[in-house]
């Protein structure tokens, strides 16, 4: 069996960053395993600009961000990329791979899981009605259009105001489709304000807040959808049904970390993020197995994925080199208003940048972080669930902490 110091699963932005982080921290013997025939992951189908303002000080397209980031890895001969190879199983640091050469096993001192996320499918939202063609997740439609030049519909309706759906509203409009509208169940949009502006308003595409698609109708191909309005409790308002003729429905109703492989090997999963539970070194509940990027929790910005990946890479290198400091772990506990905090646990011997999301919209409010030995309030104006928040806490602030750390929003 071939052995490596470090195996990274996935060559998206998280996996590439993890390779860079580990390499810079002294671990050179690295295998990166990727299912597709090139690096970049989801970036390769995101041809719009909007990537890399923090990392490269420039707004790049997704493929360009991937290419610029790969520059660093290109001439590092001891970092091996294995393409067209799918990881089937992870067990005791042994990774089983299905590659063009057949099934192969590799062993490593540490494994970083960076396999990204998947889209919530139609089944997950209980769409009623006929089984017909013409219903796609927004990411699938994006892949068809941007990689093959194939437009999946001519008269399109979009369910969910996630960024992929908004980006696709503009893309399909520019390529000649008619986008009739976007429906969002919540009373607020889930996408970035800039995408509402440049993808919907620029093209006069209506956004129906507090609306959802109740049913789809069509004999073989989709013919119409039934749009309904919902009240504050997200319950349908009787009599609000509208029939909208269309031949294509795109779903942009959320992303979930792809955790099937991790779950199968016994890693503990966070019910909120749907990704693994990690400590401040990005190590999961199984020693030597790390996670980062969208496989850990869904990110809005690639720059943050790169930063997180590099940190996970450095931490995995420290683990391999036996440099991780032994210190007790404290837990992050969420109280009112907070959906989750990453990492779920941490040591107090270092500065930490915590990432979190709120679970509803807040106008003027404070993030209250408290516990035995710490009490901190941070003012925030206008926070929404769709924007990931960050808070940096210094070692000096954390070192008096005894027990768990609690997070809440005071509005």
């Amino acid at each position: 069996m071939d052995r490596y110091d470090l195996i990274i699963i996935g060559a998206g932005s998280a996996g590439m960053a993890a390779a860079r982080g580990a390499y810079e921290a002294g671990i050179k013997d690295i295998l990166v395993i990727e299912r597709e025939k090139e690096y970049g992951g989801i970036l390769q189908q995101c041809i719009h600009n909007g990537f890399g303002l923090h990392t490269f000080n420039e707004e790049l397209s997704g493929p360009a961000y991937a290419e610029r980031y790969y520059e660093y890895l290109k001439d590092k001969d001891s970092i091996c990329f294995l393409y067209e190879s799918s990881v089937l199983k992870i067990e005791n640091h042994i990774v089983t791979v299905l590659s063009p050469q057949g099934e192969i096993e590799y062993e490593a001192k540490a494994v970083i899981f960076a396999a990204g996320c998947r889209e919530r499918p139609a089944g997950a939202i209980g769409l009623k009605g006929d089984r017909c063609e013409g219903i796609y997740t927004a990411g699938t439609a994006q892949k068809y259009l941007n990689k093959s030049g194939y437009l999946v519909g001519k008269k399109v309706f979009i369910l969910g105001s996630g960024d992929i759906g908004l980006i696709m509203a503009r893309r399909m409009t520019l390529e000649g489709a008619k986008v009739i509208g976007v429906a969002e169940l919540q009373p607020y949009s889930n996408g970035l304000a800039r995408n509402i502006k440049q993808c919907l308003e620029d093209f006069n595409i209506p956004l129906y807040l507090s609306h959802t698609v109740e049913a789809v109708k069509g004999t073989s191909r989709l013919e119409k959808i039934i749009l309904v309005e919902v009240d504050e409790k997200l319950q349908k308002i009787p009599g609000s049904e509208q029939e909208i003729p269309c031949d294509c429905l795109l779903l942009s109703v959320g992303l979930i970390p792809d955790n099937t492989l991790l779950e199968a090997c016994g890693v503990r999963i966070d019910p909120k993020t749907k990704g693994p539970i990690v400590d401040d070194t990005y190590m999961t509940s199984i020693e030597g197995i790390f996670a980062c990027g969208n496989a850990l929790h869904v990110h809005d910005l690639v720059d943050y994925v790169s930063i997180e990946g590099e940190k996970a890479g450095r931490a995995a290198a420290a683990y391999i080199l036996n440099e991780t400091e032994d210190a007790p772990l404290h837990l992050n506990k969420t109280v009112d208003g907070i959906s989750y905090v990453i990492p779920q646990s941490f040591r107090t011997n270092d500065d930490h940048e915590f990432m979190f999301r709120v679970n509803r919209v807040f106008k003027d409010s404070y993030i209250h972080i408290y516990g035995n030995g710490i009490d901190k309030k941070i003012k925030k104006t206008g926070i929404v669930p769709s924007e990931m928040q960050k808070v940096k806490l210094k070692k000096e602030e954390l070192q008096e902490l005894k027990g768990d750390l609690f997070w809440e929003v005071l509005s």
Binding site: A64, E67, R194, I196, K197, Q198
Partner: protein
């Protein structure tokens, strides 16, 4: 007047007031917000991305991007102008695919390297 700055993911909510020839902007977290608001009031600009077909072993489409923002209302025009554009590998990131598209002083450039 209210505007959302689209120049970075932060998406600042701008309040824009016209005072004679001057435009006063509030709510911008950086100076780029002022430039954006000024353009938006006079000549809104956008970066355009699309794909063109490529003759290659591995790929069917080449992603392209405007080298400089172009007028918002000419996006369809540019897509139309690219209709018959075809390229052949090898293409490098940054290669000019269509120079000075529609005379707008912006080039259509490759945003990916495709070698074969």
């Amino acid at each position: 007047m209210k505007l959302v700055c689209i120049n970075c993911p932060r998406g600042c909510h701008l309040i824009v007031e016209k005072e004679g020839d001057q435009i006063r902007v509030e709510g911008n977290a950086c100076p780029r917000g002022v430039t954006y608001a000024t353009n938006e009031m006079t000549n809104p600009l956008r970066t355009l991305t699309t794909t063109v077909p490529i003759l290659s072993e591995d790929y069917r489409r080449l992603p392209v991007i405007t080298s400089k923002p172009i007028p918002r209302d000419l996006q369809f025009e540019i897509i139309k102008a690219l209709k018959d554009t075809k390229v052949k590998a090898p293409i490098h990131y940054g290669d000019v695919i269509v120079p000075d598209v529609l005379g707008l002083d912006s080039d259509i450039i490759a945003s990916k390297t495709i070698l074969k």
